[in-house]
């Protein structure tokens, strides 16, 4: 990995892949090649398994042969122990890929008289290495020697010699050690002569146990310094890096539809960005699951593989409930585009949940996942742990360009902006939609609004929506004198509006008639005046004619 990552021409510290899922990422490529690595930790924290996995994966994946020198468990026990994890040591031994040598040092049988050294061990180890040309060596647990032999001075000197000898041999070695009280190991020696030190830990916090791993030292290389939780399951050990070292995942500008009619229009782009993560929060019964199912349905319709993690409902229940609002999830399940995984969050620790997610993502390769609800995970871990898990989850999803939709239940008691009381994941998500109750005048209505949408303009309105047998329907915005109206207020407002509309129409009609009447009166007046004028004209013209006649007569007389 580290090989690929380096952009500039520079010296790359030679490393050997660890074979442990995730550990290569933290160590930037693996254990130091050709050098000894110390793995220490208390009882039962997975030292033997980790080292065995290192050998076996080396053989199966990198074709590097190995030697396992066990000081504690006889070879047969070891074979049996790791068989349950799917590792077949016997076969590898038969194929001359692996040598397992059990070194038994029994204090009761051995007496010491005089000076000695551990040449026997060196020769056995050398013989084992040469017989299969091993490049990977494990010594588990070297401290047993201190329990079996008395002369500490010799042992310490010989141990130091062993580390140098391993280095000279050029094998990549893992040495395991029990954890000491003040120092990393009991003898306080190994950590100084190793080139890389990894501490394993197994802690129980609030009845939930978590295994953790930390790189204490790594000569000549950068490494992640945090404590990383790891898991042991049927496939061996996997480490979950808390956060990727970088935030450099690719982003997509493609937009996927929300599936809810009307909600798309609230986003300027018409939906969510592919590969973004969306949080739907709200109090109980605000249709978070419904919105989530709508999205799942929409994605399945487009033949996008979708995984739905339901922490509250069984798949059957979910399918039935969604059918009641006209969404058929069953057909997607049958077609294989949808998987519903139901489990109680308390079934596993957080880490195992994350790993399950991770595995399913790897196997099923979905483009969409839905987690309903993430707030339930709080019951498993503390808020801090949940957050750290979600960060890792989101990182992982981003890296795979998977669109993720989470729902989150808010506590009803949070009076102060219940929509914002979040598991502090709010800063992690790209898009945040809140569905909320809007109570008033004896009824409850559902409203949906967008709190944030990174990189996309969005509506600032609280939209009311109703759920009918046909599904979700976002209602048009109804503006009243005091803002947006919902529910009964919306209806009464509508009614009032209709009434006033009719009244207005009547008024207009009345006015029209009034005008008509006025016009008629005016016209009548005009007619009367004209008649008057005509009669006056007539009279005047008669008078005029008479006068003219008289004039004629007078002139004739002259």
């Amino acid at each position: 990995m580290a090989y690929k990552k380096s952009k500039v021409q520079q010296f790359i510290f030679p490393k050997t892949p660890t074979g442990v899922d995730g550990l290569d990422e933290i160590t930037n490529g693996g254990f130091p090649k050709g050098r000894p690595t110390l793995i220490c930790g208390g009882a039962g924290c997975g030292k033997t398994l980790l080292s065995m996995q290192f050998l076996i994966k080396g053989i199966t994946e990198h074709n590097e042969t190995g030697v396992f020198m066990s000081f504690e468990e006889p070879s047969d026990d070891l074979t049996l122990n790791v068989k349950s994890l799917g590792f077949d040591i016997e076969k590898l031994k038969a194929d001359k890929k692996l040598v397992v040598d059990h070194v038994r040092v029994e204090r009761s049988e051995i007496e010491e008289a005089g000076e000695y050294d551990l040449d026997g061990l060196f020769i056995r180890l050398g013989y084992a290495i040469d017989s299969v040309k091993a490049t990977r060596v494990v010594l588990d647990t070297i401290e047993s020697l201190f329990a079996g032999l008395d002369n500490q001075a010799i042992l310490r000197a010989e141990l130091r010699r062993l580390f140098h000898w391993l280095k000279a041999k050029g094998v990549t070695a893992i040495i395991t050690g029990e954890r000491g009280e003040a120092t990393l190991t009991r003898q306080g020696l190994e950590e100084y002569v190793s080139d890389c030190v990894i501490v394993l830990d197994h802690r129980v916090i609030e009845q939930v146990s978590t295994r953790r791993l930390r790189i204490v030292k790594y000569r000549g290389s950068t490494h992640g310094t945090n404590e990383y939780p790891f898991l042991i399951d049927e496939d061996g050990i996997s480490v979950l890096p808390i956060t990727s070292l970088k935030l450099d995942n690719e982003v997509s500008s493609e937009v996927v539809s929300t599936g809810v009619p009307g909600l798309n229009e609230m986003f300027e782009g018409g939906g969510f960005y592919r590969g973004s993560n969306i949080l739907i929060s709200g109090t109980a019964g605000t249709a978070k699951t419904t919105v989530a199912c709508y999205f799942a349905n929409e994605q399945c319709e487009k033949n996008e593989k979708t995984i739905y993690f339901a922490f509250e409902e069984s798949p059957q229940q979910l399918v039935r409930n969604m059918r009641s609002i006209g969404i058929d999830l069953q057909k997607h399940i049958k077609k294989g585009t949808l998987q519903i995984h139901s489990s109680r969050p308390s079934l596993n620790g957080l880490e195992l949940h994350l790993l399950t997610l991770r595995k399913l993502i790897r196997e099923f390769e979905p483009t969409t996942i839905i987690i309903d609800p993430i707030s339930n995970l709080i019951t498993v871990g503390s808020e801090h742990e949940v957050r750290s898990m979600l960060v890792r989850l989101i990182d992982m999803l981003k890296a795979h360009n998977i669109t993720a939709l989470f729902t989150s239940l808010n506590k009803q008691t949070d009076n102060f902006r219940p929509d914002l009381a979040e598991e502090s994941v709010s800063s992690l998500v790209d898009t945040w939609i809140t569905v909320r109750d809007m109570e008033g005048i004896g009824e409850r209505n559902r409203g949906i609004f967008i709190i944030k949408a990174r990189g996309m303009g969005h509506s600032n309105q609280v939209r009311e929506f109703v759920i009918t047998n046909n599904g979700i329907e976002l209602l048009d915005v109804e503006l009243g004198p005091n803002g947006i109206l919902t529910g009964a207020a919306r209806q009464s407002h509508k009614f009032k509006k209709t009434m006033s509309d009719i009244k207005l129409q009547n008024e207009i009609n009345r006015k029209d008639r009034e005008i008509e009447r006025k016009r008629k009166v005016l016209e009548a007046n005009i007619e009367a005046l004209r008649n008057e004028f005509e009669s006056a004209q007539e009279e005047l013209s008669i008078l005029k004619a008479t006068e003219e006649l008289q004039e004629k007569l007078i002139s004739k007389k002259k």
Binding site: A113, E115, Y116, D119, R124
Partner: protein
């Protein structure tokens, strides 16, 4: 004490000594062992010296870790002593040969 001496005289002691090449400690161990045996067993013993640098498989078979290692195979009980056997008294005590 006499009893054990009698036993020793009748039964042959059998030893295997594991050494590694020509190391100083190995040399010392061989010397010391021969001296003890000659003195206390009057030559009535069998000694195998195995050089594990050449005969590595024997080291695995006998669970050898430290060099030199002396294993007394007969008479019972089987005893394992590591070191160059310079602490003669301790060796005698362990081998049950002390007077």
């Amino acid at each position: 004490m006499d009893n054990s001496a009698d036993e020793n005289s009748t039964a042959k002691h059998k030893f295997i000594l594991f050494v590694s090449g020509m190391s100083v400690k190995s040399g010392h161990a061989i010397e010391n062992l021969r001296r003890i045996c000659d003195k206390h067993l009057q030559g009535n013993y069998e000694l195998d010296i195995i050089d594990i640098s050449r005969d590595t498989e024997q080291a695995v078979a006998h669970q050898i870790v430290a060099i030199p290692t002396l294993i007394k195979t007969y008479p019972a009980p089987r005893r394992i002593i590591i070191g160059d056997l310079s602490d003669q008294e301790k060796v005698l005590k362990i081998l049950n040969l002390s007077e």
